[in-house]
C-alpha cells in the first residue's frame, strides 16, 4: 500500500518522537536471519542526519528490557521471519499492547513487550510487525534468493517510511499506517 492511501492512526504519545526498528531472528539459521538482515541493510541506507530520530536493534529474540527503550519512542517496527507467508512475501500488520499471562518466559512477543512498555514505563509506541515469508531455516548464514530480494525491497520501504515519519514528527502530524502487503 502507498502512504497516500494509509489510514491515519490515533495521535502519538505527547512528547515522544523517533522510530525504533527491531530485527530479530537467528542469523545462523538461514532465512530466520531475515529480520537482522533487513536492519543491517537499512542502516546502510539511512542518511546520517536521521541518526537522532532512528534507532536500530538486532537481536536473537525479543527481551524484556526492550520495553524500556520502546517507551521513549513514538513508534516501533518489529521485523521477523514467518513460515506463514510464501518465501519473499512481506506483510505489515499493526499491533497493539496485549497482556498474555501464561506464555511469558524467556520469550516475549511484540504485543507483550508493548504491554510491558505501557504498564511498566507508562508509554506505549505505535507499532507494526513486518513478517517476511521464508523458505529455509536450516543451519547456515545464507538467505534464500527470494528472501534476499525481500530484504532489499523492505529496507527501501522502511527507509521511505522512516523519512515520512520523521517529517511528521517535525510537523507534529499523526503517523500514517503502513499496514498491508509490501
Amino acid at each position: 500500500m502507498s502512504f497516500g492511501e494509509a489510514e491515519q492512526l490515533h495521535p502519538p504519545t505527547a512528547g515522544a518522537s523517533g522510530t525504533l526498528v527491531i530485527g530479530y531472528g537467528n542469523p545462523l539459521r538461514g532465512d530466520d536471519g531475515a529480520g537482522p538482515a533487513v536492519v543491517q541493510r537499512l542502516e546502510e541506507m539511512l542518511p546520517t542526519q536521521w541518526a537522532s530520530n532512528v534507532s536500530c536493534v538486532v537481536s536473537m529474540q525479543l527481551t524484556p528490557e526492550m520495553s524500556e527503550t520502546m517507551s521513549h519512542v513514538r513508534r516501533v517496527v518489529f521485523i521477523d521471519a514467518t513460515v506463514n507467508l510464501l518465501p519473499g512475501e512481506v506483510m505489515v500488520n499493526r499491533v497493539w499492547a496485549r497482556q498474555e499471562r501464561q506464555s511469558l518466559g524467556h520469550h516475549m512477543g511484540p504485543e507483550q513487550l508493548l504491554a510491558m512498555s505501557q504498564e511498566t514505563f507508562g508509554a506505549c509506541p505505535e507499532a507494526w510487525v513486518v513478517s517476511i515469508g521464508v523458505e529455509k531455516m536450516d543451519m547456515g548464514e545464507v538467505l534464500s534468493p527470494d528472501v534476499t530480494s525481500a530484504v532489499e525491497r523492505l529496507a527501501g520501504h522502511l527507509r521511505y517510511w522512516i523519512g515520512r515519519w520523521t517529517e511528521q514528527d517535525v510537523a507534529g502530524e499523526v503517523s500514517v499506517d503502513v499496514a498491508g502487503a509490501v
Binding site: V57, S59, S103
Partner: protein, 474 residues
Amino acid sequence: MGKTITIEGVTRIEGHARISIQVDDKGKVQDAQFHVTQFRGFEKFVEGRPYPEMPSVMARICGICPVSHLMASAKACDDLMAVEVPETGVKLRKLMNLAQLVQSHALSFFHLSSPDLIFGMDGDPKLRNIFGLINKRPEFAKDGVLLRKFGQEIIALLGGKKIHPAWVVPGGVSAPLTAEKRETILASIPDALARAQRGLESFHEVAEKFPQEEEVFANFPTMFAGLVTPSGGLEHYDGTMRFVDENAKTVAEFSNPKFYSDFIGEAVENFSYLKFPYFKPKGYPEGIYRVGPLARLVVAERCGTPLADQELASFRAKLGRAPQSSFHYHWARLIEILYGIETIKKLLEDPNILDTRVRSRARPNRLEGVGISEAPRGTLIHHYKIDDNGQMRWANLIIATGHNNLAMNRGVRQVAERFVNGHRLNEGMLNRVEAVIRCFDPCLSCSTHALGQMPMHIELRGPGGELFDELRRS
C-alpha cells in the same frame, strides 16, 4: 495399576520440557521425571569448522545468555593456543561475564520467579504472572527490567550492538575499553545497586511465607560444585573447580580444567535429551551435586565485596553454611547480583582497565583444549579437540542445567510427594512442581542447545488410558 500425570510444557523456563509423575492406585506418588524434549546438538555440527570460529559459533547456543558460551569457548581456544591472556584482557572478559550474570539473574528472579513469591504458589493464575506483578508492584517490576538493561548495556558497550559480537576472541578481547565507556558504565552503578538492594528487601518481605516450599523444594543433602579464587572466594571466570559435601567440606579440587573428566561423568537416561553429569568418584546416581548461585555461595568462603559479604553473612546466619533447600537459590541469586555490580565497579576502577594490551596471538599449540567458567546457572565446560590444521574434530559441552539435572529430577519427585494428590489435580499443585524447577532457572536451550516454548497441558490418566482429570494452560 498406577497412573501417570504429565505436565506438558513447563512454563517460565527457557526451552521445552515435560514433567511426568507416576502415582499408584491410592494416588500416592511413586516416581517423577523431568523430561527435556528438545535436541539440537552443537557438538556435532561444529566438527570440521576452524577452531577460532568457536566462540562466536558457540555463543549462538543461547539467545538469552550468549556471553557464557562465549567465555567458556574462548577459554578452551586459549588452551588450544597455549597462551596467557593479558591481564587487562582477563579483566575485560570478567566485566562482560558479570554483566551477563546480573542481567540473567534479574530476569530469573524479578520476572520468572517473583510472581510465585508475590502472589503465593496458590495465587490466582490470572494474577500470578508478570503483568499481575506490574500492576501490584510496578516499581519492583521496573527494577527488574532496568537491572537487566544495566547488564545488557554493558555487554553492548563492550562488544558492540550487533548480535553476538566477536569481541571476546581466542587470546583475549578484540578491543580495549575506552575512558568514555568506562565513565558511562560507572555512572550507572549507583542506580543498579539501589535496585538490587530494593529487590533484596522485597524478597525478605515475602520469603518467610514459604516454609512448606523451603522444606520440600529439592531439599536433600547433595554435593555442591563451582569455581573459587585461589584464596577460596566467589569466582565466575577462572580459578579452582571445587566440589564440597553437604556440610561444605571440600572433597575434591582441580585447577587445570583438563582434569574435569576425572571428576565428572555423564550418564544418560532414556526419558530425556539432557545428560546427567555426576561426581565420578561417587558413581551414578550417588554422585549427585548442584551448581549455580546457591552452590557457588556454598563452595566459596566469601564473596569479596562489602555489600554482598554483608548479605552473605545474613544468609549463613539464617540458613547455615550449606543450605540444602533449592528454594534458597532465589536469595543466592540476589546476593550474586549485588556481588556482580560491586565487582563491575571494582574492575572499572582498576588503574589498568584501559590498558590497550588485551589480546595474545598464537597459532594452535595443542590439539586439545578445555575452558571452564561460571554461567549464571552454574559451571560451564567446553572441551575441544582439533587436528593439525586447526579444524574441530570433536567437542563436548557440559552445561550448568545438566549438572543440576539429577537434583531437579529428585526435586520434582520430592515436591510431588508432598503436594500431588493423584486423584485430583489443582493449579497450586501444578505450580509448585514447576516452581521447584524454576529455582534452578534451567536453560534448556543451553543444555540441549535448542530454542522454544509451549503451553502447559497436564493429564491424569488411568491404566487403560482413560482421562481422569486434566489441566490446560493456553
